[in-house]
């Protein structure tokens, strides 16, 4: 069977599975719809959190980014996992004890303020929308390459599937489909890595094979070879970075803190029965995420060596374009690989200096990896299904945040307090449907800046939510004025810095002009620090939070007496 037929079968089977789960787990109440009635087992919730968290960016792009950036790519590996330590230790148990549906619920109640709630709703919606458009695009790319339909058709197919189980099942449907999606994506990620590791180093485990000697009889370590090749071809040494230490530090911090502040991740901890389960499921989530994240740097290193070898040939003198393997030609059709024969010798050559003739998009590394290493067709099909699973699971989690923000935080808690549970559920479904249509539109007609903005969602979450929640738990006298001032100053500063360097004066976007040498990717960390300082100073000037609020804070600090999440 050819790759395309196999891909249709494997992707089709996974879709049938997701839809089956959606029908089995329909939501009957807002409690089902928002937090799956708080009845999810911590291990399953950990798995669902992992799938929710690992987006198309983790699955498709991350290993590619590490392959091209080497040591500098570590910011994503550490940044996107270290945030779970903050979540588990500083946020998840307390927010679970608080026992409401959403992050704006916490911000609004803790700071006894409609303004704070509305600011939080706006932040949640902005963060979620920037994120989701990228996911739909990921679905489109996978479909267009492997099923050879155009990107728009791919996006529409993705929308229909997500629509089905989000609108029908809400959090309950999403949770159980995410469990299935995790299994699909982790299998699809690990299998090709094991094959490649065996081929290149003879190690079954890619996570350790990555530090082993090559199987070609040279006795050289894989990473040594990669460092050597990188320098020879005019790149920075693979295991050393090109970014400044300050910048690496700030970007890592922004990603970590941003992870802990992302509403679609936090809300997952509202779905377990107890505070103890919230802690445990944070542990399981990181275990399941680590399986993929420990493999990613291995895939990156293998892929980079393979890429050098196939484009430049084992002698590093270039390979004739006519003899290029079929994957090069397949990806050239999508425009993600480009070759320009500058010296007219008919050979492809990839390097980091003026000899370079190739443009290679980092997003193809994971998707093309099985083809690069000549793996069987079913592995290629499996990777396509995994990429789609990653994109769909994250989209569904984000859609739920958007629909909850609108039906619960905006309508029920602010504008239309008198609607009953059934009406609220109807509005939630309606909001989810509209959000899917909108994000589908952005997937088909992406505004040019989507890909960039996704990375900035973390900075925005870091500079807005994170300090407000931390102070809300650990500083019981923190008051409304302090929290609101901190959030506003933090997010405005971060947004302004990003907009200035990315959209207004992109020509100034270099280390000479950055504040303290921090790039727009890392500025969320500074925004967070500013948020903390402003909140504390304003609090000093305006007096303590009322006594009943301080008592409420006392009561979320220990587990006893936690009930299921509720709206009252």
């Amino acid at each position: 069977m050819d790759i395309q037929t196999l891909t249709f079968i494997i992707v089709g089977l996974t879709f049938a599975l997701y839809i089956g789960i959606a029908i089995w787990s329909r939501a009957g109440s807002t409690n089902d719809f928002y937090v799956a009635s708080g009845g999810v087992h911590p291990v399953l919730n950990g798995m669902a959190t992992a799938a929710d968290w690992m987006s198309a960016a983790s699955f498709i792009s991350m290993a590619g980014i590490v392959a091209f950036a080497g040591y500098d790519g570590s910011v994503y590996l550490m940044g996107w996992t270290g945030g779970y330590v903050l979540l588990a230790l500083c946020l998840a148990p307390y927010l679970r004890k608080f026992g409401k549906f959403t992050v704006p619920d916490f911000v609004g109640d803790r700071y006894y303020s409609r303004a704070a709630r509305i600011i939080a709703v706006l932040c949640a919606i902005i963060i979620s929308f920037t994120y989701i458009a990228g996911q739909m695009r990921g679905v489109g790319v996978v479909f267009s390459r492997f099923l050879e339909v155009d990107i728009a058709t791919g996006v529409i197919i993705g929308m229909v599937i997500v629509f089905f189980y989000t609108v029908l099942g809400g959090m309950k449907g999403i949770t159980y489909t995410q469990v299935a999606q995790y299994c699909v994506l982790v299998f699809a990620y690990i299998v090709p890595a094991v094959f490649i590791s065996l081929l290149m180093t003879g190690h079954v485990l890619p996570q350790t094979g990555f530090g082993a000697t090559l199987a070609d009889g040279s006795g050289q370590y894989l990473l040594q070879k990669l460092d050597g090749l990188s320098v020879e071809l005019g790149f920075t040494e693979y295991t050393e970075g090109a970014r400044s230490m300050v910048d690496v530090f700030f970007i890592t911090a922004a990603l970590m803190v941003g992870t802990a502040g992302l509403p679609h991740v936090i809300v997952r901890f509202f779905t377990v029965p107890k505070v103890r389960d919230a802690r445990r499921s944070a542990f399981w989530a990181l275990v399941f995420i680590a399986v993929v994240y420990l493999t990613a740097p291995a895939i990156a290193a293998f892929a980079k060596v393979n890429l050098f070898n196939t484009i430049n040939g084992p002698e590093m003198t270039g390979v004739s374009h006519e003899q290029a393997p079929s994957w090069v030609k397949n990806w050239e059709k999508t425009g993600l690989i480009q070759w320009q024969d500058k010296n007219g010798d008919g050979k492809m050559f990839y390097s980091g200096d003026e000899r370079n003739e190739m443009k290679i998009d980092r997003d193809i590394m994971v998707l093309a990896n099985p083809e690069i290493a000549n793996l069987p067709a079913w592995v290629v099909a499996l990777v396509a299904a995994g990429g789609i699973a990653a994109a769909l699971s994250t989209s569904a989690g984000l859609l739920l945040v958007i629909s909850t923000s609108i039906s619960h935080d905006l309508l029920k808690r602010t504008l239309m307090p008198n609607i009953n549970d059934r009406q609220e559920l109807m509005y939630a479904r309606f909001a989810a449907a509209i959000a899917i249509l909108l994000s589908g539109y952005f997937g088909v007609y992406p505004p040019g800046f989507v890909a960039q903005v996704v990375a900035f969602a973390f900075g925005l979450a870091a500079s807005s939510f994170f300090p407000a929640i931390i102070l809300g738990i650990f500083h019981k006298r923190m008051n409304r004025a302090g929290a609101v001032a901190g959030m506003v100053v933090g997010i405005v500063f971060t947004l302004a810095y990003i907009i200035y360097f990315k959209f207004i004066s992109p020509e100034l976007n270099n280390p000479q002009h950055w504040i303290l040498g921090v790039s727009p990717e890392g500025i969320g960390t500074l925004g967070m620090i500013i948020n903390f300082v402003v909140a504390i100073v304003v609090h000093k000037l305006t007096g303590d939070a009322p006594d009943d609020i301080q008592e409420m804070v006392e009561s979320i600090r220990y587990p006893k007496g936690s009930g299921a999440a509720s709206s009252h």
């Binding site: 040591y71 230490m245 802690r279 680590a290 420990l294 006893k560």
Partner: protein
């Protein structure tokens, strides 16, 4: 109030914060310390074919994070039981 006395409530919170801060120090030292600030020095050491600083940045820190959360979960369950504020 769930605690026997105000002193118990204070002591519980102090133990909780103590555990949290200890673990956050490890979290910071391993990721930001070994993986970023001290990376050049650690890269002089080779660890099974990895430069050590590079390994911490790409794998070692992630393994540490998993262990940290495990220690926290177990530690907090013990403290909850000691002060009798665990859930049934």
């Amino acid at each position: 109030m769930a605690f026997q006395s105000a002193e118990h409530a204070k002591a519980y919170w102090r133990e909780n914060l103590g555990l949290m801060l200890k673990l956050l120090v490890v979290w910071f030292v391993v990721s930001y310390g070994f993986g970023i600030l001290l990376v050049d020095a650690l890269n002089q050491i080779t660890f099974f074919g990895f430069k050590l600083g590079f390994w911490f940045a790409q794998q070692g820190s992630i393994i540490t994070f998993v262990v940290l959360i495990y220690v926290y979960v177990k530690g907090m369950e013990k403290i909850d039981n000691k002060y009798n504020v665990h859930e049934d």
